[in-house]
């Protein structure tokens, strides 16, 4: 048997079904009896619902039910229960669900949706955090103080639009800034963006005769769906069964519980019949949650040698109409606010603010795209001000083992990785020694850098588990609940299992769909933590299975189990591998010569949680936000046209400290994908609203995602500093490709155009606007 190692190139197990188009996604699984639900959305960004008339819609042939807020009196939300699944008396964003039509056919549902009449009494809307914080600003949530806290550590301020505020204090930044040689003051903005996954969100639900709720959904978190639905509908968790088939891209946008609630409400309204609900692209952008926007004030001070001395940062997060994950992203930003630099004095305040935008949820990078943009632009400004090489200035300030992270946690080589090696690797990769800028005719060629880091910012008790079953032929079926959202995670899970068991990955089987019935709980497929958390659970399950196999083999081989090894589909004597017993002959128990059998079937069990993590202190931000960091260095090279301010992306480079690469192709691909997403956010993406709060770019005609033909040459490389607690030393890399791209692009273009680009996305018009004050 060929043994698959960690680090071997393994073809993803879903390759054939994806390439041939036979992979099944949520809304592909339609049955003839299935009804269709359609959301009626608000045409008003902020207003009281004066009157709702569903009579015409309900009377339409083929319509089974029409629900409004009165039919769903629950409130939901992962941190603060402030969101009604269907608006109750008030709407807070354009696109908010106000009614739900359930009908026999797609056509009837679509027609009926147009017949629901809602009358609004508009309230003045607010669209930016700073506007929403102004005294006298209209309130989105009058009863903020009455909402149930789902987690303890969230601090809403009733009577305002603040749903959470948290501070980090390390040293005395205010005082230290006074004695700095140079201080850079800057203000940055990042608009809300869309996840723009290829598969729009979809969910199906039915309630069987025994009251079991069956849900199939496009989710990153089937077990969270199970928990939330059970809690909202008041049933035992065991009576909620959730299946997550292939997910066509998620990027954090499918980590919450949204459409599932509406699908269950719909099914309940029609006696449990199966109902499907699938977003159109326009609903996916305007109605379902988006990526968070921000306004950020930064002050960075350095001494005359360029050493960063103090950082002051005030982050106003635009969480939109509902809290959702906003405050958790605030903590993620807070925990990593300095970037991978050693700064003695830090003050950071993150205020999560309601506005009349579509509510925000996690999006790849979990706030780090924004915070990295702010820090790395500021570092470039400091370098320019001190006339220092931006790479050299970064290098002398990098955080190193023994230094303390912003949350006052001392880092080690294992928890941190090697940022310096990443930066040095990057410099070679993009030929930094040739210089960051040169001009040829009307074109300026420029390179911009960004250092990145990110830890998990997960709940301290986030965990994962794995069950390993042996088939009669000795092959293994691995039951794990990570969702296949794109990066071949389920293949990687099988590879980790195979490597630990000493088997061929071809003989380790995983289903692609996840069912909460069969697979043991995994927190969520998020936070670049799946390889780490699930990998550890798999390793522990493998150890458990090996112990059982050795015990059974010891009976057969009449030796101590300590003298046996499991590898290559066999259990063999350490001292003489020619003496062995095959796994397939013992995995059902050991059978003596006359048929007596002992031991029973081998089942490997593994279960882990995060260790030693703490919630961050509300007033100081101190604590431990994640088990380790993944650090990296990124760069973008552009060709800037001085005549019209357009630019082309020539090359984009990333060097990440991945700890240990398990599947190289998959690793490079996920980093390239992240870079593409980051570059698209950097130069193109941003939701635009008219003065009344209507989204102007709610279709892919106007919401531009970077076209494939516009992508640069991607250069990706890895440094491997083992994370000793990770499976084979691995660190997560799922989000990191995206994080520094906007910063690196803005740095390259700021250099090329000799302007300061502090607002995302960076478009030619913005460059022109700043440049137009200067003569061309």
């Amino acid at each position: 048997m060929e043994i698959t190692l960690a680090g071997a190139a393994v073809r993803r197990k879903d390759a054939r079904s994806k390439v041939t188009g036979t992979a099944v996604y949520t809304d592909d699984g339609r049955t003839p009896q299935m009804l269709t639900a359609k959301i009626v959305t608000s045409t008003c960004a902020h207003g009281l619902i004066r009157h709702t008339d569903i009579s015409r819609a309900a009377a339409l042939k083929g319509v089974c039910a029409v629900l409004t807020g009165a039919d769903a009196t629950m409130l939901c939300g992962p941190l603060l229960a402030d969101r009604p699944p269907l608006a109750q008396g008030k709407v807070r964003y354009f696109g908010e669900p106000v009614a739900l039509v359930i009908a026999e056919s797609d056509a009837a549902a679509a027609q009926a949706a147009l017949l629901v009449e809602v009358e609004y009494e508009p309230i003045r809307p607010v669209f930016t955090p700073s506007e929403a914080l102004r005294p006298g600003a209209p309130l989105l949530h009058e009863t903020l103080g009455a909402y149930k806290k789902v987690v303890d550590e969230i601090y809403p301020e009733p009577g305002t639009n603040v749903c959470d505020r948290i501070r980090l204090i390390k040293g005395d930044a205010q005082k230290a800034l006074l004695s700095c040689h140079t201080v850079i003051d800057a203000y940055y903005t990042h608009p809300p963006t869309d996840h723009a996954a290829l598969e729009t969100r979809a969910a199906q639900a039915r309630i069987d005769g025994d009251g079991v709720i069956h849900i199939t959904t496009s989710t990153q978190a089937p077990h969270e769906v199970q928990k939330e639905i059970a809690s909202l509908f008041g049933v035992d968790m065991g009576k909620v069964q959730v299946t997550a088939p292939f997910v066509g891209g998620a990027f954090g946008g499918k980590a919450g519980v949204d459409l599932e609630i509406l699908a269950v409400l719909a099914s309940r309204a029609v006696g449990g019949r199966p109902v499907r609900l699938a977003n159109t692209r326009e609903e996916d952008i305007a109605t379902s949650p988006v990526g968070i926007g921000a306004e950020v004030y930064v002050r960075l001070g350095a001494d005359n040698t360029g050493k960063f001395k103090a950082l002051e940062m005030r982050v106003l997060l635009d969480t939109g109409a509902y809290t959702d994950m906003g405050p958790r992203m605030a903590r993620a930003i807070l925990a990593d606010c300095t970037g991978p630099y050693n700064i003695e004095h830090v003050f950071c305040e993150c205020v999560t603010v309601y506005t009349n935008h579509t509510y925000a949820t996690s999006l790849r990078g979990f706030g780090h795209i924004t915070s990295t943009f702010c820090i790395e632009r500021t570092v470039d400004k400091l370098a320019a001000s001190l006339r220092r090489d931006p790479a050299a200035l970064r290098n002398i300030n990098l955080i190193r083992p023994g230094d303390t992270a912003p949350t006052n946690f001392t880092v080690t080589e294992s928890t941190l990785g090697n940022p310096e090696a990443c930066l040095e690797g990057l410099k070679k990769l993009i030929r930094w020694e040739e210089g960051p800028i040169r001009q040829e005719g009307k074109f300026v060629y420029a390179k911009g850098l960004a250092m990145i880091w990110k830890t998990s910012s997960s709940p301290p008790d986030a965990g994962s588990s794995a069950v390993l079953l042996f088939n009669d032929d000795g092959s293994v079926t691995l039951q794990v609940a990570c969702v296949e959202i794109g990066p071949a995670m389920r293949t990687t899970a099988a590879q980790i299992c195979a490597a630990a068991l000493g088997m061929d990955v071809q003989n380790v089987h995983v289903t692609m769909a996840v069912s909460t019935d069969a697979a043991p709980r995994h927190w969520k497929t998020v936070a670049s933590m799946t390889t780490f958390l699930l990998g550890r659970a798999i390793l522990s399950a493998v150890e458990d299975a090996k112990k059982q196999l050795r015990r059974l083999a010891a009976l057969s081989m009449r030796c101590a189990s300590e003298d046996l090894d499991v590898s290559g589909g066999r259990v063999s004597r350490r001292s003489d591998p020619a003496q062995y017993v095959e796994i397939k002959s013992i995995c059902r128990g050991y059978k003596f010569q006359h048929g007596n059998t002992v031991g029973g079937r081998v089942i490997g069990r593994g279960s882990v949680t995060m260790q030693n993590l703490t919630t961050l202190d509300r007033h100081t931000g101190h604590g431990r936000a994640g088990p380790y960091w993944t650090v990296g260095a990124q760069a973008v090279e552009v060709q800037y046209d001085t005549t019209d301010h357009s630019y082309r992306l020539l090359r984009a480079a990333t060097v990440l400290d991945a700890g240990k690469i398990i599947n190289p192709e998959a690793a490079h691909a996920v980093v390239r994908g992240g870079m593409a997403m980051g570059l698209s956010q950097a130069g193109r993406e941003g939701l635009e609203f008219d003065p009344s709060g209507r989204i102007l770019d709610s279709s892919l005609r106007s919401y531009k995602v970077m076209h494939f033909s516009q992508t640069p040459e991607y250069l990706t490389q890895f440094v491997e500093t083992p994370n000793v607690e990770g499976p084979f030393g691995a660190r997560g890399i799922g989000e990191h490709g995206a994080i520094g791209m906007p910063a690196a692009l803005a740095n390259a273009l700021s250099l090329a155009a000799r302007v300061s680009l502090d607002e995302l996305p960076v478009t030619p018009e913005k460059i022109w606007l700043i440049r137009s004050e200067k003569p061309l």
Binding site: D106, A107, A110, Q111, A113, L114, T280, E282, T643, D644, S646, G683, R684, E688, L696, D697, S699, R701, S702, K704, M706, H707, S709, Q710, P761, T763, P764, E765, W768, L769, S772
Partner: protein, 280 residues
Amino acid sequence: MIPFDFAYFRPDSAAEAVSLYQELARSGMEPVYYGGGSELLTMARVGNRRFGAVIDIKAIPDCTAIGEEGERFYFGSAVSLGAIERSGLFPLLGRTGARIADHTMQQRITLGGNLAGTIRYRECVLPLLLADAGMTVFTNDGAQSVSIHQIFSGRLDLPTGALLTGCSVSREFARARHGHVKKTKNEKIDYPIATVCALETDGYLRFAVSGVHENPFRDMALEEILNDTRTVPRLRADKIVEELRPGAVSDVYGSSEYRLFAFKRAIMEIFAMEREGAMV
């Protein structure tokens, strides 16, 4: 999902299509002519457009023909932008169409749809305006050939129910030296901030513009300014910009001032192409 019912017809001749249109209109069916469907279907899906009947013109030979007709080249209104580019008959029209939407959509979007649709840029009209195209319009009275200048003023102005079956341009114009410059917000595949098409005939530069104003246009008075060799190109461009300022559009794609800037850059690039002999 299109949230309303509609009837589908596919007539075999323009005469049949036109009489069908009138019949359907009389019975309140609100018919529309249907080519590639890229605009009608997507707008109907999101509720921005309603119709009771579509008359698919892709079985009408006049609408699907493309090729040489004596000294002229003919392009049926149901011919796709992709087919026009591949034919190589009118390179400026081919290049203009090849910058509308992405490659997949270029195989669906038809010439007639681009000219008659509600998406306001209608960039395919630019080369036709420059080439003084002849348009074949079918009404109750049969086919009529009219100059594009008679029926296009910002948008196609045809009697209700009339069907544009195709258009033709002379070989001389189709093969004339030309330039095409398109400026977008940032993404290459996008609506224009400014698209300028230029065509040179007897040393005189014709040009037409989309994206800057609400509708695309060709303005002979502005062409006079463009060709006024008594002043330097930059000043000519500035003068045209001043003329265009009053009607310039501001929206999510770009402010009016930025559109004018982009337009000026486009004109300067056309001048540069002409100067360097880069117009092909």
